[in-house]
Amino acid sequence: MTINTQVSNDTTLVILVGEKFDFVLVDSFRRAYEDLPAEIRQIDVDLSATQYMDSSALGMLLNMQKVLAGRQLVYRIINCRPQIARILEISRFNKKFDIE
């Protein structure tokens, strides 16, 4: 598994990332939020399965916000495992994302 998406409550796009979140996913991660329907108000990146992450993943997350800068969206990163939460914390990602 690499990246899966689903829409919940009609207004939230959930992006499910697989075990490894690294540069191999650059393309499929971008495709996950391409052609975003107008009614989407929130993007949840679900990292419940993710155990490994590198800095390109951080880049992908920030890049998503840049690409979608024109839209009023809430960004959340949800269900992180402790190791992943630590990387996000080190990188101060709480400034740009709601981390649950």
Binding site: M1, F23, S48, D54, G59, N79, S91, K95
Partner: protein, 555 residues
């Protein structure tokens, strides 16, 4: 060929009979002149049919018949009396003492032959039955022996550890009966707990046999702290390859965090789980989202999990369908609603109580399916985290990668598989992955491919960067990367505590890079790699004009 014992005190009769038998095709004859001799010969030669004179000196035929019969206890041995008597009383006595038929004197060849043929038939049938009985007995013993062996393996493979007793309220049938239900419980490296609640199709040994590979594999995967999705995927692949097509395993795989207030669920076909609050209201019901394990191929398999949040004092109920598939003469099927009504009726309804209620519901009859009930009242797990299996011997893993190796898409995966094989490194495998990926990618992208991270400043550039990377990597013909992973660290440690530090050193022979070119602002999509590595590690040294990076990680 059948053996015939001829017992007569008159030699002339014996000779005549033997001759007639030979003509009829029974060449293998034994002779005896009275009852006592007959029994001795019967024991020695094991005849198939006995021709027995009635009146003889010493022991008469009437006395000898039951004793002769006793020499062939497992198998019918026809005894035919030779008699010139024709009064009813004598004939009845002959049959009462165990005889099967008469041959009248004087002998008539045709009758003798026909009677022998008839009795030979029943003897042969009896021998066949004896043979079959013997193989049946053998087979039965074999099955029992196999059961004992499997039982032994079972007990050893599925020994329940101490976690469940203290944290989980479990009802399950005794393991001595082969059980298609499987409950597994393992600590996770991060201090939480993994559960497996499963139910193989059918009953008995056949259904239970699948439990062994599942238990072994589950145990090793949980020790490595794999994600629930990954565990589900791998168990499915395992059972898909092992089980016959009509067999599968209904299962839920759950991981609880150390605090016990969040859990990740993959459920394939298990009855709806229920989570209730401390004041007995239903917080969540958790329906199975997937097909059971062992049905779908790897491509078809869906590993998506659900994540739920709980509060301390909540209770999670999980069970196999044996509990809810109870039929009541009037109220019908119990179902998930019935179970949930009982579950929510009181503050604490033990798993045993639920089983008792289900038994009452079906009118006292024992359940006709295997049945497992597990409850967890949400609270933090407080066992010592096996933080480290100590690393017992010093080691260096040394990799020399040439252009051909560097081009491999799964390079880091291959390296990680080797690193993960070192006991004691599992706990920090996420950190090792991040460090190894950063350093290796820096060596590839900046050292060998001469890429510039500034490209990544713009959204389009970010994608272009990785396209360019792929393009240049494909053309790479020369370049080496050396990776050394050592424990304990080798030298030049500025920190005092050398103990417990793992060294990861990555060197390349490209043009090199300087760290200053890698600094980006907080919101830039690049330049975070080395900063991240610095935060994760104890010490980072960059030498050889940027070609060599050494990182020390706390183990």
């Amino acid at each position: 060929m059948l053996k015939v014992l001829i017992v007569d005190d008159e030699e002339i009769n014996r000779i005549m009979l033997a001759e007639m038998l030979r003509e009829a095709g029974y060449a293998d004859c034994i002779e005896a002149e009275n009852g006592i001799k007959a029994i001795e010969k019967a024991r020695e030669y094991k005849p198939d049919i006995v021709l027995l004179d009635v009146i003889m000196p010493g022991m008469s035929g009437i006395e000898a018949a039951p004793l002769l019969k006793a020499t062939s206890p497992e198998c019918h041995m026809p005894v035919l009396f030779i008699t010139s008597l024709d009064d009813e009383e004598s004939l009845v006595r002959c049959l009462e003492c165990g005889g099967d038929d008469f041959i009248s004197k004087p002998f008539e060849k045709v009758i003798l032959k026909a009677k022998l043929a008839a009795h030979a038939r029943s003897r042969r049938q009896s021998l066949e039955i004896k043979d079959k009985n013997r193989s049946l007995t053998y087979f039965q013993q074999e099955v029992e022996r196999n059961h004992r062996i499997v039982e032994h393996i079972f007990d050893n493979a599925l020994t329940h550890n101490s976690v469940e007793k203290s944290y989980f309220d479990l009802y399950s049938q005794p393991t001595t009966q082969f059980n298609g239900d499987l409950f597994l419980c393992e600590k996770s490296p991060s201090g939480g707990v993994y559960l497996f609640v499963g139910d193989f199709t059918s009953h008995g040994l056949a259904s239970a046999i699948g439990a062994i590979p599942v238990a072994q594999s589950f145990s090793s995967m949980t020790k490595r702290g794999l994600a629930v999705e990954e565990i589900a995927y791998r168990l499915n692949a395992l059972l898909y390859s092992l089980l016959p097509v009509d067999m599968f395993c209904v299962a839920a795989i759950i991981e609880f965090t150390q605090k016990g207030d969040q859990f990740t669920v993959w459920s394939g076909g298990l009855p709806r789980m229920a989570l209730k609050t401390s004041d007995n209201s239903l917080r969540h019901t958790i329906d199975a989202q997937h097909m059971p394990l062992g049905i779908l191929s790897n491509d078809e398999f869906e590993q998506t999990c659900q994540v739920f949040h709980a509060q301390a004092g909540d209770t999670l109920l999980m069970y196999t369908d044996g509990l809810m598939e109870c039929q009541h003469p009037i109220h019908g099927l119990l179902g998930e609603e019935g179970i949930e009504a009982w579950f929510l009726a009181e503050a604490s309804v033990s798993s045993d109580t639920l089983v008792k209620k289900a038994t009452e519901y079906r009118g006292g009859l024992p359940p006709d399916d295997d049945l497992t009930v597990v409850q967890f009242s949400c609270r933090p797990f407080e066992f010592e985290i096996a933080r480290n299996k100590r690393i017992e011997v010093p080691f260096t893993l040394s990799f020399h990668l040439r252009a051909g190796h560097i081009k491999q898409a799964k390079l880091i995966d291959h390296l990680m598989r080797i690193v993960n094989g070192v006991p004691g490194l599992a706990v920090i495998r996420s950190e090792i992955f991040t460090v190894l990926t950063e350093l290796t990618n820096n060596a590839i992208e900046h050292g060998l491919l001469g890429m510039c991270s500034q490209m990544k400043a713009e959204p389009e550039g970010f994608i272009e960067y990785y396209e360019l990377r792929a393009e240049r990597l494909a053309k790479l013909t020369e370049g080496d990367i050396w990776i050394d992973i050592s424990y304990p660290v080798k030298q030049n440690v500025t920190n005092t505590g050398q103990q417990g530090l793992l060294e990861i050193a990555v060197r390349d022979n490209g043009p090199g890079f300087t760290e200053t070119t890698l600094k980006g602002a907080d919101d830039q999509a690049f330049g975070r790699g080395l900063a991240l590595v610095r935060e994760l590690s104890e010490q980072v040294d960059i030498t050889d004009g940027g070609n060599k990076t050494r990182v020390l990680l706390k183990v």
